[in-house]
């Protein structure tokens, strides 16, 4: 080869670095390398890269261990009930098939080996006999295989949610075993037996995974079977349509066949790569993997790892700052798990979302301010020597008649994954409810997105609601999800119909399964963040279950100046889109931040309950460039602080007193009887400059029993969340205590939400 032609980008250089070149080629390459330091450097780099590849690939898990992969029976995201009688939707595999083929293949293997006389020793049987015996074995293998082939389609149609557990099939007893080889046979038999036990254990583990689902087993199973592969570690190779045919050569193969590896899994794995930072994904895996006897994740739902806020010394860090959060999706999601008879994953439990799910009767603001704060303090019921502070914000109420006109764009995911009763049909129902609550001068457009995005309905006044409803009804699922393109189009339409001073909002309805186009968390949030600057707000509504990507939607809503809700039932849709429609649609303040300053003379240490991912640095409070939460009309926001008063043994990590600080400072009012001061910063929905409100609180030593009903109820919900999260701060309280406190805080229970909470606690108690 010509030496002069070699560049660092020559495949031969890689081949050389890998030791694949021989003879003349190798010599020529070595000669070229001697003269060219750049090539030498390239070879070194290639080898360094390869060393990394080899060590990384060596860590990829093997799959023979029982626990590594579950027997995926039904492919993710499809309700097994829907397979009933209908055309076969997905390949369903059953353990029998595996067992039959696997067991008989092993048996055949054993027998074939056993049949062969030991080397150097004349066998006791004639060659002819051996051949006959082998023939018989071959037939039995063939028979087994054809049985398996026959069974496969039949069982595949069976509409069962739980995979049957066949008894282990005994080794075929009729197999000819040459006496002389009994030892070898026994050895192999033992091997086969081990393999069979492995299968049984694996099956048992899977059954255990199913059992907790109880009455909701159909739902449970579809979630469970999503654990087909440990994510990221075992993404199947995806044979893409655009792969060059030549690359797969292999004679007259149908290239189409190769496209059909399980993209369901592949897509999920891909998303996980992009959804959360690698660290966070790792945390999720770790958390879920903690489930006993069933290491693989139960489902692919993505929940970011959260660590409970710890106690912080008030002397060292007197200020606590966070962004308000009125999302309530966490509650509906926890409810879904409990209703299905499962304890929710700890990271799916967000205490502040549970607490904020319930309406509280805080006093509405008087005058021009958009909201008022109601502060209250009493014993922390789970730690009676501690104090519990409740900060309640109440947004100004806006009635349908007095709110500005709305320009809404429904952005609806109609991809294949939405084809489930609790997804697209529920979306339609929810949006019909919403349309029923709009004013005739409001406008609605519908954008759908799947493989391609499109305008299903141009912006139409609600006066023509029949057209809107007809367009909604006409939506059918199909295709893949290019969320990014749909978001573009929806914002374009919202901008084209912009109502100055009005409600301009994109309402995204999806299961969060973005899998085409811009799918990285960064890409989508950047897109939304940019679009949010146009003055169009976002409401993200999560539907369905299974591949519901909680964190994606929450991110999108946060970045899009929006709110986000999870709709699992018609009732939840009514709550968000009918009862609280104005709160959902009308934002009365944005970038709302709370800063609490604790008086170290009263407070030894404090702990913010929940809001783990909403914490801000103290200096962010006055920085208007830092994005924070939004408050809708009439919304309430509740935050709880647990406080260790001065004089109690502090749970905060002790720090030696500071030597150079101006202790006993004259600048501050150390002798103030106040416990703390709550400062709130907010911007008007269209404003860019924040305003500040201040509310001081003095502790008069109230007992929990004397606290308001709202206080008791919020404390009960917080403790419920901490118990579900297994928080280190949950104290000694039990779910029974939660029931007692919540029962004391029922207070008329408008809407029945609090009674429903009591039911949920009872349900959780049965799962303990």
């Amino acid at each position: 080869m010509s030496i002069s032609k070699i560049t660092p980008d020559d495949p031969r250089l890689t081949a050389y670095a890998l030791g694949e070149l021989e003879g003349d080629e190798r010599a020529a390459m070595e000669a070229a390398l001697r003269d060219d330091p750049a090539l030498q450097a390239a070879v070194d780099e290639i080898r360094a890269t390869v060393a990394q590849l080899e060590s990384a690939l060596a860590t990829e898990p093997m799959v023979t261990e029982a626990s590594e992969l579950s027997h995926a029976a039904i492919i993710a995201g499809h309700d097994p009930a829907k397979l009933d009688g209908g055309p076969l939707a997905k390949v369903i595999r059953f353990p029998q098939l595996y067992y039959l083929v696997g067991g008989l293949a092993a048996a055949g293997f054993a027998v074939l080996l056993a049949l062969r006389p030991p080397a150097g020793q004349p066998g006791p049987k004639s060659v002819n006999e051996v051949a006959q015996a082998k023939d018989a074995t071959a037939k039995s293998v063939k028979m087994a295989v054809s049985i398996a082939d026959l069974q496969a389609p039949a069982t595949a149609r069976a509409p069962v949610a739980l995979p049957p557990v066949p008894e282990p099939k005994p080794m075929p007893s009729a197999m000819p075993v040459p006496v002389a080889d009994a030892g070898a046979y026994a050895g192999l038999l033992a091997q086969a037996e081990t393999a069979r036990q492995q299968v049984m254990q694996e099956r048992q583990a899977r059954i255990e995974a199913f059992v907790p689902s109880g009455p909701g087993s159909a739902l449970g199973s579809s979630a469970t079977t999503k654990a087909t592969a440990p994510r990221a570690e075992l993404a199947p190779m995806t044979y893409a349509a655009n792969a060059p045919t030549a690359a797969y050569g292999g004679g007259p193969r149908d290239i189409g066949a190769m496209k059909l590896s399980r993209f369901g899994v592949a897509a999920n794995a891909g998303k996980d790569d992009t959804l959360q930072g690698a660290v966070i994904t790792g945390g999720v895996e770790m958390k879920v993997a903690a489930a006993p006897a069933n290491p693989p994740a139960m489902n692919t739902e993505a929940y970011a790892y959260r660590r409970d806020n710890d106690f912080v010394s008030a002397a060292g860090t007197p200020q606590s700052t966070f962004a308000v959060d009125v999302d309530t999706a966490g509650y509906a999601n926890v409810r879904r798990f409990l209703r299905n008879g499962q304890r929710p994953p700890e990271d799916a439990v967000r205490v502040e979302e549970l607490v904020n799910n319930f309406p509280y009767r805080y006093a509405p603001p008087a005058g021009a301010v958009p909201f008022a704060a109601s502060l209250e303090v009493a014993d922390a019921p789970w730690a009676p020597t501690h104090r519990l502070v409740r900060i309640g914000l109440k947004g100004r109420e806006v009635s349908t008649g007095s709110r500005p006109a709305a320009n809404l764009v429904f952005l609806i995911d109609v991809s294949g994954s939405m084809d489930e009763p609790n997804k697209l049909p529920l979306v339609k129902e929810a949006l019909r409810l919403l349309v029923g609550r709009l004013r005739p001068d409001d406008r609605v457009a519908i954008v759908v997105y799947a493989g391609e995005s499109g305008l299903a309905l141009p912006s139409t006044p609600v006066a023509k609601s029949a057209e809107i409803v007809a367009a909604l009804d006409a939506l059918t699922p199909g295709g893949t999800t290019n969320g990014a393109m749909g978001i573009q189009l929806a914002y374009d339409i919202a901008k084209a119909n912009f109502v100055a001073g009005g409600v301009n909002r994109v309402i995204l309805c999806t299961d969060g399964d973005f899998n085409v186009g811009v799918t990285s968390e960064g890409g989508l949030t950047r897109l939304i963040e940019e679009k949010a600057k146009s003055g169009v707000f976002l409401t993200a509504l999560g539907f369905g279950m299974g591949n519901y990507k909680d964190a994606t939607l929450e991110q999108l809503a946060d970045k899009g100046n929006g709110n986000y809700g999870y709709i699992d039932t018609r009732r939840e849709a009514e709550k968000l889109l009918v009862e609280q429609v104005n709160g959902t649609l009308v934002t009365i303040a944005k970038d709302v931040k709370v800063q609490v300053e604790f008086n170290p003379a009263q407070v030894a240490s404090y702990r913010l309950i929940g809001y783990e991912n909403r914490l801000l640095r103290p200096e962010d409070f006055n920085n208007d460039a830092v994005d924070a939460g939004e408050i809708g009309a009439g919304h309430t926001v509740t935050a709880l602080y647990e406080i260790v008063p001065v004089g109690q043994a502090s749970a905060a990590a002790t720090v030696d007193p500071l030597k150079y600080q101006n202790r006993g400072a004259e600048s501050g009012d150390r002798h103030s009887p106040e416990l703390l001061t709550v400062s709130i910063r907010y911007k008007d929905p269209s404003g860019e400059v924040s305003r500040k409100l201040e509310f001081p609180l003095t502790d008069h030593g109230a007992r929990f029993a004397a606290a308001s009903a709202d206080f008791k109820f919020a404390a009960a919900v917080a403790e419920f969340g901490m118990i579900l999260r297994n928080s280190p701060h949950k104290g000694a309280a039990t779910l029974q205590d939660v029931l007692t406190w919540a029962g004391a805080g029922l207070d008329g229970d408008a809407g029945g939400y609090r009674s429903e909470f009591l039911d949920l606690v009872r349900q959780a108690a049965t799962l303990q």
């Binding site: 093997m62 055949g108 080996l113 592969a229 060059p244 059909l260």
Partner: protein, 179 residues
């Protein structure tokens, strides 16, 4: 899968010990390889079992000098057969195909704090599937270009090109990961 029964022959493998050793050593790597092709460990196990059954049916000496390579080839063909069969059965799977390119996203941003191995594996997972396959065969299973060419029915040059392209891309991406 194994629709062809093993043909009875006068002689089977002489070297039972070798077979057992190969079975013990190669079963897990083969299953991992097949599972990646199929996206499913069950069927991967089936395919691997089939491959061993077929191995037993081979005439003595036919594959002895390249037994591991031969097993990978048979597994690959078995896996591709299954994938092809599935096409007929999975009417509602259309659309899944288009999702595949989604894995192609901007690496780097989300990997900062990840362990090196995990981030390397992620980068590998973003390679086109044909590159992934040869990269794994080369750097995980230790096959030579020539053996990979045998397994995948590609030419040696083609294998070399795929590996070169993948390594070059990964090299660039590793460099980008390190600020």
């Amino acid at each position: 899968m194994s629709n062809e029964p093993p043909t009875p022959r006068e002689q089977t493998h002489e070297t039972t010990g070798l077979l057992e050793r190969i079975f013990a050593e190669q079963r897990a790597p083969l299953t991992r390889y097949a599972a990646r092709l199929l996206g499913d460990a069950d069927r991967a196990r089936d395919v691997v079992q089939d491959a061993f059954v077929k191995l037993l049916a081979q005439p003595r000496g036919a594959v002895d000098d390249h037994m591991v390579e031969w097993l990978f080839t048979v597994c690959r063909n078995g896996a591709l057969d299954i994938l092809r069969k599935e096409q007929r059965m999975r009417r509602f799977a259309e659309g899944e195909l288009e999702r595949a390119p989604a894995a192609d996203t901007r690496p780097g941003r989300t990997l900062e704090a990840a362990e090196t191995h995990a981030s390397v594996l992620k980068l590998i997972d973003r390679l086109p599937p044909n590159q992934q396959e040869v990269v794994r065969l080369k750097f995980q299973n230790g096959f030579s270009y020539k053996e990979i060419a045998g397994i995948t029915s590609l030419s040696v040059t083609n294998v070399g090109f795929l590996i070169h392209t993948a390594v070059t891309r990964l090299r660039r991406e590793f460099a980008a990961e390190r600020p």
